[in-house]
């Protein structure tokens, strides 16, 4: 849908330099820069590294969820040919920091053999280091752990429910506005419904993997991380070394989804192992080891109470969530917070409680809170629309939030109406019968249509970048950004080329290494905005320095122009008042006798803008499901989404991100679920034969439209984010379409066929 993209922006950016403009490279639907490397197998992922002398480590996963390890047969493991060392709590080298400490509120406790306690199935309880992977794996088997097991607490009946002030990463767990009870009492129509979502595990294609090596007091790490430079301080703190002594190389990440943003117990053990044996150590998780120590999306039980007046306008919106976390840490899926900013209501209440179970600590998983919360909210809105006898889209338009319902602030931009229109038109929503079970395909299968609104915040974190113009007129931009399949290398390089005013093929874009300027974190859908701002500013800074040289140089055709009187494009500086007077970067540097000029830049949210505006990406998703009326087989036969996310840097890759999010929504609605044994707490489907995500046959038609949106507040580049919003809206749209097809309200995810069999 490139035709819907805003053309080259005429806006001059208000970020300190008028020399460069976004738009020559940014905005183009380039194919991904790393595509060829990946399809030919030449992209080097962490597990592809094999430094000389490297050993293999395999950690042992606890098979109970609660209790103590009473015995490990270390002698048997060590006697196995090829086994070099066995690490247990008895001989684990000391760490400089307690893995159970929380030095800052966002820190998660990790399990690094600090004692013999087991607090979830899959927790590391020992590690075997060997000459080969096979020997390490067999050593792990030979350890044959014995346990003193206690009953696992895996549900509401056995777990402890607790009050909380915080949900997610530092968000208030309670928000109240107006009088919800009064709003409900005054309502002409009321809906109350309870929804459940299961524990889901990230399961990126690439499992967690690390090759750790020590060179004296320097720690060299090849590992996939969503925050290469940012993570050095955290790793260093565990070993009592300065952050600059840690080098993280993370050129390619095979999917992260929030699971590769933090230190994990197994990662620390691999680093310890390398120090213990004095050789590089590689550790790659087995697929089942992704279920436990690297975070997950915690299960939720959500209750929605909606009141609406006769005209369909909400009188109250009450969303409460019970979010499951571990027995020892506090991350709670902030599900109810998804209702903060979507619909206008005079009375609102969003509240959370925690439930302690014997599971690993959950964490951020693609759209944390928004995915689970939007699923419940959009279902409840559909039920409310039905109660009001209204078309679901008309009902949402009746409750359109002109200002942010939570803060009352104006939105920095909000093209949600345009999203509704574009997606509804493309989908063919008009003419949809209100009542369920009205449509059949020509094979007699039930067909239903449903929709949901999509929303995701536009955070910015902090990032730094460096840009250099070389004597030959080429440019280099350096930033420790994260390419995790989303296309960051491509999109950020497009911004970088524009920042330097050069063509993309004249740019050397260096990324994925912690020794480069700190690119922050690829998370929260804020990477392009944050890293992109730093990159663009750095480029503009370099060009400004070059312009200073040129306008002061009597031999330059630009001599005498004011600094703001020149502009850069195509590797040349031009006089604004006479574009025919221009000079190449190379000529300017050559005459000045310089080999290069370097600029620096930062990316961060403008605090004033953050205080005055509410900033979100918006979207609308429409779903068609087809259901076999006898066999309850479900297929999402069509999905159409339209999204407004500010400036789109690369429409091809943005569409891919949005489409991927929508497909994730199909998996959320119909497939993804962790099945725990209720007695042992072990995930019993910890592989791709049992833990299902959609396959191609499940996604016959998925379309993401990009809706034009100009945002002058979110950041100077006008970039929001597209990484997570595709899931939101989609889950509800599918569930609502299922109701429309069958007349059955599904409130427990994933939907099982027995729910529909009747």
């Amino acid at each position: 849908m490139t035709d819907m993209i805003e053309p080259v922006s005429p806006d001059t950016l208000a970020n300190g330099s008028a020399h460069v403009r976004l738009g020559s490279n940014a905005g183009q639907p380039l194919t991904r820069a790393d595509g060829r490397l990946k399809v030919t197998g030449r992209a080097t992922f962490a597990a592809d590294n094999r430094p000389d002398g490297m050993l293999y480590a395999v950690y042992v996963s606890a098979t109970i969820a609660r209790g103590r390890v009473t015995h490990l047969d270390v002698d048997a493991a060590k006697a196995h040919p090829g086994v070099v060392e066995v690490m247990t709590p008895a001989n684990r080298p000391p760490l400089a920091r307690d893995p159970d400490a929380k030095p800052h509120p966002f820190a998660l406790k990790v399990d690094a053999l600090q004692n013999d306690r087991v607090r979830y199935a899959g927790q590391p309880i020992a590690l075997v280091i060997a000459e080969t992977l096979e020997a390490a794996a067999e050593g792990a088997v030979l350890l044959a752990p014995a346990y003193a097991a206690e009953p696992a607490r895996m549900d509401e009946a056995t777990g402890e429910i607790f009050a909380t002030e915080i949900a997610g990463f530092g968000n208030p767990a309670l928000f109240e506005k107006g009088d919800v009870e009064a709003g409900l009492a005054a309502a002409a129509r009321r809906v109350e419904a309870r929804y459940t979502t299961p524990a889901q595990y990230h399961n990126a294609m690439e499992p967690h993997a690390i090759v750790a090596a020590w060179e004296g007091d320097r720690l060299i790490l090849d590992m996939p991380t969503q925050a290469p430079a940012l993570s050095t301080a955290e790793f260093a703190s565990f070993f009592g070394i300065p952050p600059q002594n840690v080098l993280v190389r993370s050129p390619f990440i095979g999917g992260g989804f929030g699971s590769k943003a933090f230190a994990t117990g197994p990662y620390l053990l691999a680093m310890l192992a390398a120090r213990m044996v004095g050789r590089p150590v590689k550790m790659v998780h087995r697929r089942d080891q992704q279920f436990g120590p690297v975070g997950h999306r915690g299960a939720t039980r959500q209750t929605l109470r909606l009141g609406a007046a006769a005209d369909g306008r909400l009188t109250a919106l009450d969303h409460t969530a019970l979010s499951t976390t571990s027995s020892f840490d506090d991350f709670l899926e902030p599900a109810a917070n998804a209702s903060h900013n979507m619909y206008a209501s005079p009375a609102m209440r969003m509240a959370h409680q925690g439930l302690r179970n014997d599971v690993g600590t959950p964490g951020a998983m693609r759209a944390p809170g928004e995915a689970t919360g939007s699923a419940a909210l959009e279902c409840a809105m559909d039920e409310a629309a039905e109660a009001c006898g209204m078309d679901p889209l008309a009902f949402r338009l009746a409750n359109y939030a002109e200002t942010d319902p939570q803060t009352g602030r104006p939105f920095s931009s909000k093209a949600l109406r345009e999203c509704y229109t574009a997606a509804a038109e493309r989908f063919g929503w008009s003419g949809r019968p209100l009542a369920p079970r009205q449509m059949r395909d020509d094979e007699g299968r039930l067909v239903g249509w449903g929709m949901g609104s999509a929303l995701f915040p536009c955070p910015m974190f902090e990032a730094e970048a460096r840009a250099t113009i070389h004597a030959d007129g080429t440019g280099t931009v350096e930033i420790s950004a994260s390419e995790m399949g989303q296309g960051a290398l491509t999109a950020l390089a497009q911004i970088a080329a524009d920042g330097l005013g050069i063509d993309g093929d004249r740019l050397d874009f260096r990324s994925g290494d912690s020794s480069l300027p700190n690119g922050g974190i690829a998370g929260g859908s804020g990477h392009t905005a944050t890293a992109g701002s730093a990159i663009f500013t750095a480029g503009a800074d370099a060009v400004r320095r070059l312009a200073e040289i040129a306008v002061a140089d009597e031999a330059s055709p630009l001599f005498g122009a004011s600094n703001s009187g020149v502009e850069a494009r195509g590797g040349r500086l031009h006089r604004v008042d006479d574009p025919s007077r221009s000079e190449t970067y190379a000529a300017i540097l050559s005459r000045a006798g310089l080999s290069s000029v370097t600029g620096e830049g930062k990316g961060a949210r403008d605090p004033a803008a953050a205080e005055s505006r509410a900033m979100f990406s918006h979207g609308a998703v429409f779903a068609e499901v087809t259901v076999d009326p006898d066999l309850a087989q479900i297929r999402v036969t069509r999905l159409v989404g339209a999204f407004a996310a500010g400036r789109i840097v690369n429409p091809r890759l943005a569409t891919s991100q949005l489409t991927g999010g929508m497909i994730w929504g199909i998996g959320f609605a119909l497939h993804e679920e962790t099945v725990y044994d209720p007695r042992t707490g072990r995930p019993m489907n910890a592989d791709f034969a049992g833990y299902h995500v959609p396959v191609n046959a499940d996604v016959p038609s998925v379309e993401a439209l990009l809706v034009e949106e100009t945002d002058r507040h979110v950041n100077a580049l006008g970039i929001k984010g597209v990484g997570e919003i595709g899931i939101t809206g989609t889950v509800g749209a599918i569930a609502n379409a299922l109701w429309h097809a069958t007349g059955v309200r599904v409130r427990d995810f994933p939907v099982k066929m027995e729910t529909l069999l009747g």
Partner: protein, 363 residues
């Protein structure tokens, strides 16, 4: 993974000698055994790699019209073989409804016959499992048994056989050819896996240690059903998932009367469940909804849930059987559907476009 010897015998005789070793396991496509080894479920001391043995990779039509399928024939090759497609289209449809294209290229017919149950407790060495360690108990009891058996199970085991291929093979009366050091023998596919019994006996494949499956033979009789046979497979995901329930139905219809019928169900028992009562009930009847309903009810008459969470499979299996019979009666499709065995495969002559093509019609 434990250390093991690896041998690659050159002849069947050598292979039988090597497989007789007490800790030996036979490797063909490896799509199941290697997974089980990585999970620690199988810990063989010796791998006997038969994947390159001569003479086991052919599909031949015998003089009596039977089709002999070598044990090393790949699943993909089986599904596209002209003789198989012509005589037993439901076999091809079942194969194509299973696994992924990559796995079908690698997996063998003999390996499919011996494919282990996908019960999560069988696949988890930390769980008690009578099927893995006879007499050790069954931790599936009290755990997740949504996919478990509703026919032929016992207190010892309620796991199901995961194969798609075996369902039409059982329906059509295929026979397993087995070689051992003492000679050869044959077992019907439908009886190849014994049902669980009492006292921790989970049952299992009727293959004595050291024996090797050499072929599966489809009787000539199978071809009489070629014009009216289907496989239907139901699962949450549209592809690349094991069946919750499946059914192979094959009818020989003449002058509006069913002369003979074949029906087997998958996903409901420890083996493909040949429904002889249903077949008898259909014989001589008109191929209509009432007959199919009665047949399906006969097939499921003895069914009982092995746990609360699989009770729905009884009603589901009944409906899947009816669907398979109904589709079979409509006639084998001229071309393999793009979604083999799926209820979303078009059954009308005109394929449905993906754009909304339906008319809103009140029910």
């Amino acid at each position: 993974m434990n250390l093991f010897d690896y041998v690659r015998p050159a002849t069947l005789g050598e292979a039988l000698g090597a497989a007789a070793h007490p800790g030996a396991a036979v490797l063909a496509g490896g799509t199941n055994l290697v997974d089980l080894m990585k999970a620690g479920v199988a810990r063989p001391e010796r791998i006997v790699d038969i994947s390159r043995l001569p003479g086991l990779s052919e599909i031949e039509t015998l003089e009596d019209g039977a089709i002999r399928i070598g044990a090393l024939v790949g699943n993909a090759a089986l599904a596209r073989h002209p003789a198989v497609k012509a005589a037993a289209p439901a076999v091809a449809e079942a194969v194509l409804a299973g696994a992924s294209a990559q796995l079908r290229n690698k997996a063998s017919v003999g390996g499919n016959l011996l494919q282990a149950t996908r019960c999560a407790y069988f696949g988890d060495p930390a769980s008690a499992c009578n099927r893995r360690v006879p007499g050790s108990g069954c931790d599936a009891k009290g755990g997740d048994r949504r996919g478990h058996a509703v026919l032929g199970w016992s207190d010892a085991c309620s796991a199901t056989n995961p194969s798609d291929l075996l369902v039409p093979l059982a329906a059509l009366g295929a026979v397993v050819e087995i070689a051992g050091q003492d000679g050869t023998r044959e077992v019907p596919v439908a009886e190849f896996h014994t049902l669980p019994g009492a006292d921790g006996d989970a049952g299992g494949p009727q293959l004595r240690h050291g024996e090797i499956v050499t072929a599966v033979r489809l009787p000539a009789d199978a071809a009489r059903f070629a014009a009216a046979s289907r496989y239907v497979k139901v699962r949450e995901r549209t592809s690349f998932a094991f069946a919750l329930v499946s059914a192979a139905a094959a009818l020989d219809i003449e002058d509006g009367t069913i002369r003979a019928a074949r029906l087997a169900l998958g996903g409901v028992a420890a083996r493909p469940w040949r429904a002889a009562e249903a077949e008898a009930a259909l014989t001589g009847k008109a191929p209509d909804a009432a007959a199919f309903q009665a047949a399906a009810e006969a097939a499921m008459a003895q069914a009982r849930p092995s746990a609360e969470d699989n009770a729905f499979k009884i009603a589901l299996a009944l409906r899947v059987a009816v669907r398979a019979l109904t589709l079979a009666a409509k006639g084998t499709p001229e071309r393999m559907p793009a979604l083999p065995a799926s209820v979303f495969a078009p059954t009308l002559s005109a394929p449905s476009p993906s754009a909304p093509s339906f008319q809103g019609t009140a029910r």
